[in-house]
């Protein structure tokens, strides 16, 4: 006699014909709560870029002066629970080092060699500014800027300088006060330039079709995902046959009491023309607008708009508030009183 060996844990699942049936219908319902799965996946997708941006510069702007000294301006996200933050500097010959927290408060720092220890104590965003003499070298008439950048950055070249050598591709170029400003990507960059006796400014940028196509493409992707997510969530809720609460329509931006644009221009006659346009737009939007909306409206890169907003903040025209990880730009209410 040779009895057939049947694994005990399978015995019950076997039917008379010896076939193994596995019920696949509803397995997702049994094992996981689908809405939870969707929500958690969306959260994971949203959190990935936030985590990767921690401690890496979110804005890096460099200005080269005619004597080769470079002004560095960095904005970094830091851990608000940490007491301090160590920043690797681009060299050791540093001047005019200043760090401010997100509320504009001066933070204590200690610069040793190539690094700076900054007492952050609860700040989540810090802005570091300094001048450095290590990034530009001169040989004969040729000046060479070299940097291993930790992130994409902008570089404003001195007036009347002409680029005569470059090791990588620029992302963008703009003209700012008759100076060329390049946007360059992360990694090693080396740029040779010289000073010309004749004014050197490359043709002003006209919004080319490729740029616009790029923007529409990006918006289309983001918009598509958002729309698909909304449709999906609504479908899931309906499939559960629960009472769906009417979607609350967001009220249009609250009108806040602000100074109108013309009054601002009278109080601040030195404002740049492009800044005035921004002020007008904010004023027409009830006195507050998201920085991302400004970028969309004026078709400006993130760093350019950030600088403009910072400039307006320095001039006391606007104030910046954080709203859902975004910058909410508001016209200041008490400008007239201050003046």
């Amino acid at each position: 006699m040779n009895p057939q060996i049947v694994p005990t844990h399978r015995k019950e699942s076997l039917r008379e014909d010896g076939m193994l049936f596995v019920r696949t219908e509803g397995i997702l319902d049994t094992m996981v709560k689908l809405p939870l799965l969707v929500a958690s996946m969306i959260i994971v997708a949203a959190v990935i870029p936030v985590q990767s941006s921690f401690s890496s510069p979110r804005v890096l702007d460099l200005i080269i002066y005619p004597d080769g000294t470079t002004h560095v301006s960095v904005e970094v996200n830091v851990d608000p629970l940490a007491t301090d933050y160590e920043l690797e500097l681009f060299g050791s010959t540093i001047d005019n080092f200043v760090v401010v927290g997100e509320n504009g408060f001066l933070l204590n720092t200690d610069v040793i060699g190539n690094s700076a220890l900054i007492e952050t104590f609860g700040s989540s965003v810090i802005t570091i500014e300094y001048d450095i003499h290590d990034l530009v070298a001169k040989q004969g008439r040729i000046w060479t800027f070299s940097l291993n950048a930790p992130s994409d950055f902008t570089l404003l070249l001195p007036k009347n300088s002409a680029i005569v050598g470059m090791t990588n591709l620029p992302i963008n170029m703009e003209i700012i006060n008759d100076q060329n400003q390049l946007t360059l990507s992360v990694g090693d960059t080396e740029i040779d330039y010289l000073f010309s006796t004749t004014p050197v400014v490359t043709d002003p940028i006209i919004s080319d079709t490729p740029t616009l196509q790029t923007d529409y493409f990006t918006y289309a992707i983001v918009g598509g995902i958002v729309a698909a997510s909304i449709v999906g969530i609504v479908a899931i809720i309906r499939s559960k046959q629960k009472i769906v609460k009417p979607i609350q329509v967001q009220q249009s931006a609250k009108k806040i009491e602000t100074v109108d644009a013309e009054t601002i221009f009278k109080l601040k006659p030195d404002l740049r023309e492009d800044d005035k346009e921004i002020v007008k737009f904010i004023s027409n939007n009830g006195g507050q607008v998201l920085e991302s909306e400004l970028r969309k409206k004026f078709l400006q890169p993130r760093t350019t708009m950030w600088r403009a907003v910072k400039r307006l903040e320095r001039n006391g025209v606007i104030e910046i508030e954080k709203k859902d990880l975004q910058n909410l730009v508001k016209l200041r209410k008490n400008m007239e009183e201050e003046e």
């Binding site: 969306i42 080769g68 000294t69 010959t93 504009g104 001066l106 070298a137 005569v164 963008n172 040779d192």
Partner: protein, 272 residues
């Protein structure tokens, strides 16, 4: 249900992929700038060659220049359709021009710039940088409500600018030195004036952080109450609390540093 599952996977994939797509799209922004930079460089190199050699350009340099110029021409033809080729042409042209600049530069030893390098000193640049620094400090000072009067410094800036414009280099240098020391003093004053608000900020931060640390210690204690670091950490917490209530912020900060190191060790022990 199958549709919903597929939809979920689609949302996840597109959510993760969108970030990389956005970056790639940004990297391809406006390829016509490549042509503008390369054409400008070509023109400048030609000027430099003309200035340095006139009609007798060394054949080696001539060959490299022709290669660079050919790449610029190819770049013109590649745009707007063949972006990949345009990129290659740009890099090739700029590489050639870079080679030429190295060759035509005077044989002076390459050196990093220093502020003491008188020949490269540019008073206007220095003054502009100081102004930028001053503006940052002024903004911070206003945030702290220090009430510091900046009129004297602003006057010095105007004076230095006038001196530079009228070619009074020595006087301008002296004014800039005066400005540097005044700004240094201002920074000190802001620090002194802002010490109250920063100590408030640190106190708030410390009390929040100490609660968090205490929770970690409680958890560690439930895992291993005999852990030698626990006693030290608890005593440091008490010390910090006392120091903060005595307004001794600088000592509290030092103790905080010590406490953080011990907490790191404890965390490691818990997770082992």
């Amino acid at each position: 249900m199958k549709t919903i599952a597929l939809f979920t996977i689609f949302v996840l994939i597109s959510g993760v992929a969108s970030t990389s797509l956005v970056n790639d799209a940004y990297a391809q922004n406006d390829p016509s700038i490549l042509l503008r930079i390369a054409t400008q460089a070509d023109k400048q190199i030609l000027n430099q060659l003309d200035r340095s050699y006139g009609d007798s350009i060394p054949s080696k340099i001539q060959t490299i220049y022709e290669k660079g110029h050919a790449s610029v021409e190819s770049l013109k033809n590649s745009l707007p359709d063949n972006i990949e080729q345009a990129r290659e042409d740009f890099l090739s042209a700029m590489k050639s021009f870079k080679q030429i600049t190295r060759m035509i530069s005077e044989p002076v030893a390459e050196s990093k710039l220093a502020t003491s390098d008188v020949s490269d000193k540019d008073l206007k640049s220095k003054l502009n940088r100081l102004d930028k620094y001053f503006q940052s400090l002024k903004t911070a000072s206003e945030k702290h409500n220090t009430g510091i009067d900046f009129s004297e410094i602003e006057q010095l800036f105007t004076q230095a600018n006038q001196q530079i414009d009228s070619g009074e280099t020595r006087e301008a240098t002296q004014t800039i030195q005066q400005l540097e020391s005044s700004i240094h003093e201002i920074k000190k004053k802001i620090r002194e004036n802002s010490s109250h608000s920063s100590s408030d900020r640190i106190k708030k931060f410390a009390s929040k952080h100490l609660i968090k640390i205490q929770k970690i210690l409680d958890r560690a204690s439930s895992v291993d109450s005999e852990m030698p670091e626990l006693e030290k950490a608890n005593s440091l917490i008490q010390e910090i609390k006392t120091l903060i209530s005595d307004d001794n912020i600088s000592d509290a900060k030092k103790k905080f540093g010590e406490l953080n190191k011990i907490v790191k060790t404890i965390k490691k022990s818990i997770h082992q």
